[in-house]
């Protein structure tokens, strides 16, 4: 099971890298979404996918799934949600102000470099 997950996560990272290297700003943001999906799935997989009950003491099971990676993922999800929301609004503002979503054209001429 872990091997299957590793392959899927690898595909997610691959797609994310490909999308983040493209020119359109929205594709880049979709790429960051896939990247954080990959990272969260990897955290879950690395915690171990052995069988066990959901981590609720009411289940009365003999073994439970590891609760720590789940807490870590929950934290990482809300953080990446906040950052993505900010990033999307920033992309919207940039499109309004600068009139382009092409990253090739988001270049500076300020300063004498």
């Amino acid at each position: 099971m872990e091997i299957l997950m590793a392959i899927v996560i690898g595909v997610l990272f691959m797609s994310a890298t490909y999308l983040m290297l493209s020119k359109s700003l929205l594709r880049i943001i979709v790429g960051t979404g896939l990247l954080s999906h990959g990272a969260h799935l990897l955290l879950l997989t690395m915690g171990g996918l052995k069988k066990g009950a959901a981590p609720l003491l009411g289940e009365q099971a003999s073994s439970y799934a590891d609760p720590i990676p789940q807490a870590l993922i929950l934290t990482a999800i809300v953080i990446s949600f906040g950052v993505t929301a900010f990033f999307l609004v920033l992309a919207y503002r940039t499109y309004q102000e600068l009139g382009t979503d092409n990253t090739e054209r988001l270049r500076g001429t300020e300063g004498n470099d």
Binding site: T32, L42, I79, L90, G111, N112
Partner: protein
């Protein structure tokens, strides 16, 4: 009082929350944020003294025993950095009163600065690797908003690049923590360290070490990963630039120092060699950038990169001398970079440009500004009575005694070129024929100068009083050289 070491995190946090309610009352905001950052400075001084007298301070949050809960750890290195952060923050906040402008102040500027300090102080104090990630995000999110606040075109453009780089490095941080957790099965730094020393440093641990180097190198701008920094730090106004330049990269450098001295110290042959080569290349590229530009912001920005290289080279040598040098230099560099950014902010306010060819002769009308800048410049380059000298001396001494001859020579030569780059600003900008600039009479130079003068005086005192500071520095070095001190302080009964 056992909760003492959480105060540098809690005080800015509560102040930040309070400031959210005072958005429209600018005077109240200024008083509250100045007073609270002064309180943070006083607390950090007491914290440094307490760590000096009683050894490493630890606090188990919620009274859960060490590897199971989150532990905050304050050893001398983190206490010194928390103190420096608080001082820099205080200076930048009082500088902001007369320079940042009402538009930004109304839109939660001071609250964001306080949240940034929460993130930085938290990252310096935490003893848990995932908690470090969370404090990184607190710091980074405040820095995104501070970078874009005001919404000019250049800020929007550069913030997009800055966010993208940091989103990627945060995802890599999560991945690295995932790998480490699957191999070690713990998140508490002291516990990870003791488990790695039980199991020995295998190949997978070395791989994870390089992943952490990539993650923290992206935050701290080391050689192949510094590409985002010159553009992003160019965009924001001067006080924000000073906060970023002084604090953000140093958090990355601190994290490299912490992980490489605590986790990955068994098999130093490979990792520390990589680190020292990258550090030297960082110095070379930083210095090339610093002498290439005739734009005063760019010159100081590339000096940040060169200084990161010097600190990491001293750390990679891993001898007692060079480690003390690195710690001394990181504290010096935070203070002096903040002072330099505030000073060039004043110059840009007076002249209206950051192009070195378009102004000259400032010393005639602004002698105070000129001599403060001169002191800051020679201190940056490391001229003997000032603070930059002592750190570099120890780093070079360590380099020569451990056989890193080339590295020590590069550090020496870099000082020369850094002196050249910063004196170029002084000679071209302050000497020569005086010119007059539009709207320069409205700039309150005397009030603006207060914060940089405080920082430069501190830097001079740090240089003159290096004998007094040295016991603190060597105490910080002991923890880095001997991780058992750290582990024993955190995990008590085993």
């Amino acid at each position: 009082m056992i909760n003492f070491l959480i105060l540098p995190i809690i005080v800015p946090l509560l102040t930040g929350i309070l400031l959210l309610f005072l958005a429209r009352h600018i005077t109240a905001q200024r008083w509250v944020s100045a007073l609270s950052s002064l309180v943070t400075v006083i607390i950090s001084v007491l914290l440094v003294q307490k760590v000096h007298l009683d050894g490493v301070q630890t606090l188990n949050l919620g009274s859960w025993e060490a590897p199971f809960g989150i532990t905050l750890v304050s050893d001398m290195l983190s206490a010194l950095l928390v103190l420096t952060t608080s001082i820099v923050a205080f200076a930048c906040i009082i500088h902001s009163f007369s320079s940042i402008g009402k538009d930004r102040e109304k839109f939660y500027y001071y609250a964001l600065v306080q949240f940034l300090i929460v993130g930085v102080n938290g990252a310096f104090t935490t003893g848990d690797i995932f908690n470090l990630f969370v404090f990184f995000e607190v710091m980074l999110m405040s820095s995104y908003v501070l970078l874009v606040l005001g919404g000019t075109k250049i800020q929007l453009r550069e913030t997009i690049k800055y966010i993208l780089v940091n989103v990627i490095s945060s995802a890599l941080f999560v991945v690295a923590v995932g790998y480490l957790y699957s191999v070690i099965g713990s998140l508490n730094m002291a516990h990870i360290s003791s488990r790695i020393s039980e199991a020995g440093q295998t190949g997978i641990i070395t791989t994870i070490a390089i992943m952490f180097l990539i993650v923290f190198g992206l935050k701290g701008a080391i050689f192949p990963l510094f590409f985002w920094l010159p553009g992003s730090y160019y965009a924001p106004p001067a006080p924000v630039m000073a906060l970023f330049g002084a604090l953000l990269t140093k958090v990355g450098v601190y994290s490299i120092m912490r992980t490489y001295s605590l986790f990955f110290h068994q098999d130093q042959g490979f990792t520390h060699q990589v680190l020292s080569v990258l550090a030297l290349l960082t110095i070379v590229f930083g210095v090339i950038g610093a002498i290439a530009y005739s734009d005063i912001k760019k010159i100081v920005i590339y000096n940040i990169i060169a200084a990161v290289g010097v600190i990491l080279f001293g750390f990679a040598v891993m001898s007692p001398d060079s480690l003390s040098g690195s710690i001394y230099y990181i504290v010096h560099d935070m203070i002096i970079k903040a002072a330099l950014f505030l000073l060039i902010g004043i110059i840009i306010k007076i002249t209206g440009t950051s192009d070195l060819n378009q102004f000259s002769g400032l010393i005639k009308r602004y002698p105070g500004l000129a001599w403060t800048f001169f002191l800051a410049a020679v201190s940056l380059a490391g001229i003997p009575p000032l603070s930059g000298f002592f750190g570099k001396l120890l780093i070079i001494q360590g380099g020569f005694s451990e056989g890193f001859y080339w590295g020590a020579v590069i550090v020496l030569l870099s000082s020369l070129l850094i002196l050249f780059s910063i004196m170029k600003i002084f000679i071209n900008g302050f000497w020569g024929t005086p010119r007059s600039y539009q709207g320069e009479d409205k700039v309150p130079v005397k009030t603006l100068l207060i914060a940089p003068i405080i920082l430069v005086i501190l830097s001079v005192l740090m240089g003159v009083g290096s004998e007094t500071i040295y016991p603190y520095i060597s105490q910080a070095t002991d923890t880095l050289l001997n991780p058992d001190i750290y582990i024993d302080a955190v995990i008590k009964e085993w």
